[in-house]
Amino acid sequence: MRRRALYFALRQAPALLFVAVAAILSILSPKFFSLSNALNLVVQSAPIAVVAVGMTFVLLTAGVDLSVGAIMFAGGALAAKLLLAGHSVALALLVMVGCGVFMGVINGFLIVRARLAPFIVTLAMLFVWRGFALWVTETRAMNLPDWFIQFGTARLVGVPVPVVVFASVFFLAHMALTRTPFGRQLYAIGNNVENARKAGLPLNWLLFAVYAISGLCAAIGGILALTQLGSVSPKFGENYEFKAIAAAVLGGTSLFGGRGAVWPGTLLGVLLIQMLESGLVMLNADPYLYPIVTAAVILFAVLLDTSRQAILEQRSRRRIYHDAERT
């Protein structure tokens, strides 16, 4: 029974970690625990949050998408080019979203049709799209007109637009994963691909869709990042794949597939990472420390994931005989 208790604790780890970090930061910095800071946190984390939602879909099938940051960059570069050439905002954003879906579909095609490992495919695409975007931008930062940044601070019935986008993406993703056949079948694939194939699930279609969704989310995350930064620099979207994977895993999504959720999991993970970063800023910590602290937390999350998996495996180990008292 002690093992059962441990397993329960491991399952609740994201929430426990979230509360612990929030409590520590609140004690260390009086400014931290305030409504305005909380809202700020949500706005700042919106781009990563949306990308991490797409990543959660991919991770649930035991895949991975390393190309999300590059997709943001490539889509952003094209959109910026169109805007600066005087085209309408609507067209620019449409192109960016289209690019994201298209690039996701290419990932899906290579993984499903050519049967390549997701890790390799998306790693290669990371370099392809980053290279493509550097070529489009001629490695220069492209500054968007000032009025564009105002989208990021605009409000819809009193709520900042990024927060509206953030919330809608999470709501839709949560419904898709828990309430639609599509979502439940993704969990089935992640649990056991062989069984899923035997049961006759539309494996190829599902995987295709997952990478397309990840591409779409990368593009939407890219738009949010554009409105916050106001420019497309050669570093645009860098490390987003890392942060998105980290957020999902911190939120309890397993790298082994089949386990996890966007709500509350990935949401907690995203806020946790953002909280750590802005907490360190508030504490005037040495900037060189940020990546080290973030990496340590992520390693910890993966460690939790692995021990959870080990316990699960032990619980489902086949027994050769049964004790009399168990009968």
Binding site: R179, Y187, N191, K198, A199, R319, I320, H322, D323
Partner: protein
């Protein structure tokens, strides 16, 4: 008698080893047929053909008067043939209801799942299999017995009319087994045909209307269950002529213990295992699949943990960790999985042969390999084990046939001379000619003083090469026989699991 399923002249070979030969029998409509046979008799192959995982070389199947040629597992389930395996095919992270309807989840007008209708339909199926659980319970929280009932409910959900149970009770408790049997009785009353495969012959006789006995890929007996006593079933399963020659020992075993095992326990896996293996002795472990033999070997070699007991190698107690210490004490282990664990497939034959003993072929101070001496040893070894002369030393090991690969795996130990050698299924998938050579190598090692522990599913092979045989069943040693007492029927009888003790 109406037929639910007919096998007509099914043949199947793997490579040039025939596995099924002209298998014909009929499963009567609404009847339960027990299929029994030793390991390797061809039961699984036949069921794989029935389930669309394999194609037969010749012969045909007729399902309810229509020709039946499944090319894929999906075809089988569409035709109403369902399998309940030992390894269950459920998604543990989904609820019972989701598992039952994973390919056809009911929807509301939009995209969303209609949970109300889903749970209602699931509850109906759960009631049919007598499982008193809420449909939204996650499968990972169920016991193995409950999971099996869910699997049966899934079979019912797509109107299975023929259900195959493959060793369904192996991981069930006594009570769960009874629940399963009463459900099978209800299915029987509803007119569903079943094939029941089990090593527990009492169960087969009790649960089945008809019995078919397979031996070496052929039907050697069939009839109504009441015609067979357990003893008759055993003799039909075994009754094979000795057709393999065995090399002879040159030396008798010493009386000095090499490996002492005392009351080793691991809950749910093995219990109370005690034996002593002497230098120069060949000790066999017989038993059926899933008796815990390979698990015991893994524990002895330090790959899995054990909760109590003691293991001593050459008189020194082995603490409970890792294979490294075992290897230092002169132990070696050849796993069942030769291709992945015993051999470096891409490395050359020569490199594989020298793998273990290479340290002894180096010269100080730089520890460079003395290739001249190596070559001499390689040539000597090749001659000793009669490795196919067509194979070149530099050729990668994966290009060899199964028998020659295993010769390489074993021959490397001739150089290293371990004091304890554990072999798990050393001749699986090896043709008859190569088997003799493998036996010769094993006995030669024993003559040189190595203590050999051989796990094998072929009782005949064990009686051929062993000095002594332990018989395991349900994680326990049930019998110990010395060479002069070897008797195939007694061995098999001891290996069959008893009807669960209460």
């Amino acid at each position: 008698m109406n037929a639910a399923l007919q096998f007509e002249g099914i043949d199947k070979s793997f490579g040039n080893v025939p596995v099924l030969r002209d298998v014909s029998f009929t499963v009567g409509a609404g009847r339960t047929l027990g299929l029994v046979g030793e390991n390797g008799a061809g039961k699984s192959t036949l069921m794989n053909i029935l389930g669309g995982n394999l194609r037969s070389d010749a012969g045909k199947m007729v399902l309810e008067d229509r020709p039946y040629e499944p090319a894929h597992p999906k075809d089988a389930s569409r035709a109403g043939v369902a399998f309940i395996h030992q390894e269950l095919n459920l998604f543990t992270n989904l609820s019972i209801a989701e598992n039952l309807f994973v390919t056809g989840l009911p929807r509301t007008a939009g995209f969303l799942i209609n949970r109300h209708s889903l749970h209602q339909r699931a509850a109906k199926l759960l009631e049919q299999v007598g499982l008193d659980l809420r449909p939204e319970t996650k499968v990972e929280n169920l016991s193995l017995g409950e999971r099996q009932l869910v699997e049966i409910a899934r079979a019912l959900s797509f109107d299975a009319r023929l259900i195959i149970f493959d060793e369904p009770t192996t991981s069930l408790s006594v009570r769960e087994t009874e629940v399963l049997f009463s459900l099978m009785a209800r299915l029987h009353d509803r007119g569903i045909s079943m094939i029941y495969i089990s090593h527990i012959l009492e169960h087969v006789r009790r649960r089945c209307d008809d019995i078919v006995i397979l031996r070496d890929g052929q039907v050697v007996g069939e009839g109504e269950a009441i015609e067979f006593s357990t003893a008759r079933l055993v003799s039909l399963m075994v009754g094979r002529e000795m057709n393999q020659l065995y090399p002879t020992r040159k030396k008798a075993a010493a009386s000095t213990p090499a490996l002492e095992v005392e009351r080793v326990n691991e809950p749910g896996i093995v219990r109370d295992i005690s034996f002593t293996l002497h230098h120069g002795e060949v000790l066999g472990i017989a038993g059926l699949m899933g008796a815990g033999r390979s698990e015991l070997a893994r524990i002895l070699f330090g790959l899995d943990r054990y909760s109590s007991g003691e293991i001593r190698a050459n008189g020194k107690p082995l603490i409970r960790s890792g294979p490294r210490q075992r290897i230092k004490h002169g132990m070696a282990f050849l796993t069942e999985d030769r291709r992945h664990e015993g051999l470096c497939l891409d490395a050359s034959i020569a490199d594989n042969l020298m793998l273990v003993a290479l340290r002894d072929y180096t010269r100080s101070p730089l520890r460079l390999v003395q290739s001249g001496r190596c070559r001499q040893s390689i040539d000597r070894l090749r001659e000793e084990v009669l490795l196919s002369p067509r194979a070149h030393d530099k050729q990668p090991a994966k290009t060899l046939s199964g028998g020659n690969q295993q010769k390489v795996v074993l021959a490397k130990w001739l150089l290293a001379r371990p004091s304890v050698l554990i072999l798990d299924e050393p001749t699986r998938g090896v043709d008859v000619g190569a088997k003799f050579e493998l036996y010769r190598i094993i006995l030669e090692l024993a003559d040189a003083g190595t203590a050999v522990l051989v796990i094998s599913s072929e009782i005949e092979e064990l009686t051929g090469i062993c000095d002594r045989i332990l018989v395991m069943s349900q994680g326990k040693v049930h019998a110990e026989l010395n060479r002069d007492k070897f008797d195939r029927e007694r061995l098999l009888a001891a290996a069959l699991p008893r009807e669960a003790r209460t």
